[in-house]
């Protein structure tokens, strides 16, 4: 969820320009400056991919580009770190959210 309440700890912020990105073909709202991970989490999506061996679900963990758990496909480039990749208008994001192949 995008934070709506403001307080001393999290004072008011205006987001960037509205734009649209496609997540597995479905268009969703996003704002310039947001990361791919932020947009997915705002959509309530926690599972970004499944592992190669155990098909175990994975999502954001370190949030700073170091753990490689948040990998998604962006505009046909595979294994992109969602937590450090900003969105762009018209971006196509593919996630691997289904446990069965």
């Amino acid at each position: 969820m995008r934070i709506k309440v403001t307080s001393k700890l999290l004072p008011e912020v205006r987001r960037g320009k509205p734009l649209r990105v496609a997540v597995n073909g479905k268009w969703v709202d996003a704002y310039a400056g947001e990361t791919v991970a932020a947009v997915l989490l705002a959509e309530g999506i926690q599972v970004f991919r499944h592992t190669a061996r155990a098909r175990a679900p994975r999502g954001v963990y370190c949030g700073m580009g170091l753990c490689y758990e948040c990998l998604v496909t962006v505009d046909e480039v595979r294994a992109v770190r969602a937590c450090v990749t900003p969105v762009a208008d018209g971006m196509r994001i593919e996630i691997d959210a289904e446990p069965a192949l």
Binding site: K8, A54, A56, G59, V60, G63, G65
Partner: protein, 472 residues
């Protein structure tokens, strides 16, 4: 032509920014490099481009002040530039730095290096820690403060140290229900011994107290000597289990409680991000009070390698204020090494800055003693708990490797592939070390089990840039 500088500063957090400013002010031809789109590092991370804070004009934060000074300084700024390798220059006169990023040169050259690459949350493994919904404190704080995203509805925050309170307070401010906060350490008379040092940092104490009172006012259960021991759910976190810990940090049987949550925020202190220092060949030391393996440094923050300095949390966890001072010290030392300032000037500077630095070091030691990483947390692991997230290596597999004779991280890696994945072992070094120490028993120590080696590329880079690199 490859751009050449007298000094390259890698990392533009408080340490790197101050180092670059100090060196540039002394007339050193300096390049400052960061993988992020803008300077700031962890504490001073600016809002993303396009976001705008609505606050009174003219009101500037400390981070904004620093980055404005950096913008005005005579130096080269390379943002969105991830350093994936540093190699000794063929001419023997410095370093060749390999960069990945759309709009930056592939290589630059520098005579001296200041590494200021910061730190990351110390990974602690427990059953369910790989489930989506388990985030580090760092991840939660970046999402909240920088992206303005509340990732969950109802969370448990567990770990040790100041970032636990900070994360919990920010979550609560964002409207997330904080079902509980578990601080793994108990406070004892140990705290009193450090009172004089702690009290001198009244602003930071006040910050912590503010977070705590905010949580208590909201009715958040705050427990000391407790920790998350398990997260579970169908495909994502639906439940967490917490338990009381014994003096060593092992969970006390029978004390478990279930908490319904959709997220677990775990932050057990910070670990120095020492990868580049290790790659260039700086000698490492194991410093439990400073977050683990870190480069050895002399009094001017020089490493064991001539011409290479380390400043800030990448050389031992000590906080933002310490990072700023170390940046100034390293930047000034580099200027002295290049002959830009006199020995007298360096001496005068040193006399001015060292008392403040000593206080920050004392403060860091006090925090490290109050919030150690409890060794007993290793007993949370079950046979099928993954230790290495990348290669999906479980506790059971690591124990088998030990049974087969493995005594070091390198040997575990060869036998199990733990540490061979994309993260180069940054996430599993701690959990695997903890298991090795337990399984090997007396005589084993982090100094004997060792550390994972680090190889270029530090981060996977597009194949194109590696091939081109071989050509040149």
């Amino acid at each position: 032509m490859i751009a050449s500088y007298e000094l390259a500063v890698i990392g533009a957090g408080p340490a790197g920014m101050e180092a670059a400013l100090a060196a540039a002010a002394a007339g050193v031809e300096t390049a400052v490099i960061d993988g992020h789109p803008a300077p700031g590092g962890q504490v001073y991370m600016p809002l993303p481009a396009g976001f705008e804070a609505s606050r009174p004009a003219g009101e500037e934060t400390e981070g904004e002040r620093l980055s404005r000074r950096l913008d005005a300084a005579p130096l080269a700024r390379l943002w969105n530039a991830a350093v994936w390798g540093i190699f000794p220059d063929e001419s023997g006169s410095g370093w060749s730095i390999a960069l990945a990023g759309a709009e930056v040169p592939r290589r630059i050259h520098a005579r001296l290096l200041i590494l200021a690459t910061g730190a990351y949350d110390t990974p602690v493994a427990f059953p369910g820690w790989t489930l989506p919904g388990v985030l580090t404190c760092g991840a939660a704080l970046t999402l909240l403060k920088n992206q303005r995203i509340a990732p969950f509805r109802r969370v448990l925050v567990s770990g040790t140290g100041p970032l636990v309170l900070s994360a919990a307070a920010h979550l609560s401010a964002a409207g997330v229900a904080v079902a509980g906060v578990c601080e793994a350490n108990r406070f004892s008379r140990r705290a009193l011994r450090h009172a004089p040092t702690l009290l001198r940092e009244s602003r930071r104490l006040g910050e912590g107290a503010g977070y705590l009172s905010r949580l208590l006012l909201a009715g958040t259960p705050y427990r000391t000597g407790w920790s998350v021991v398990e997260a579970s759910g169908e495909g994502r976190v639906e439940k967490a289990v917490i338990a009381r810990l014994d003096a060593a940090g092992a969970p006390l049987p029978g004390s478990e409680r279930n908490v319904e949550v959709d997220g677990v925020i775990a932050g057990y202190g910070l670990t120095p991000n020492r990868g580049l220092a290790q790659m260039v060949g700086c000698r490492l030391e194991y410093l439990p009070q400073k977050g683990g393996w870190a480069p050895w440094r002399g009094e001017n923050l020089q490493t064991s390698l001539p011409g290479v300095y380390c400043a800030g949390d990448c050389a031992g966890i000590a906080g933002a204020e310490n990072s700023r001072l170390e940046g100034q010290i390293a930047g000034t030392a580099a200027a002295r090494e290049l002959g830009k300032i006199t020995a007298q000037q360096a001496e005068d500077f040193s006399r001015r800055v060292r008392p403040a630095w000593a206080q920050q070091q004392r403060f860091a030691r006090a925090l490290a003693e109050l919030y150690p990483l409890p060794p007993g947390l290793v007993s949370l692991l079950q046979e099928d708990t993954p230790l290495c997230r990348c290669e999906e290596v479980t506790l059971g597999a690591v124990k088998q490797a030990v049974a087969a004779g493995a005594q070091t991280l390198g040997e575990v890696k060869m036998l199990t592939r733990a540490g061979m994945g994309n993260c180069q072992g940054r996430m599993c070094e701690r959990p695997v070390t903890a298991v090795l120490l337990r399984e090997l028993g007396a005589g084993a120590a982090p100094e004997t089990t060792g550390s994972y080696s680090v190889r270029p590329p530090l981060h996977p880079v597009p194949i194109g840039s590696l091939l081109e690199d071989e050509d040149s």
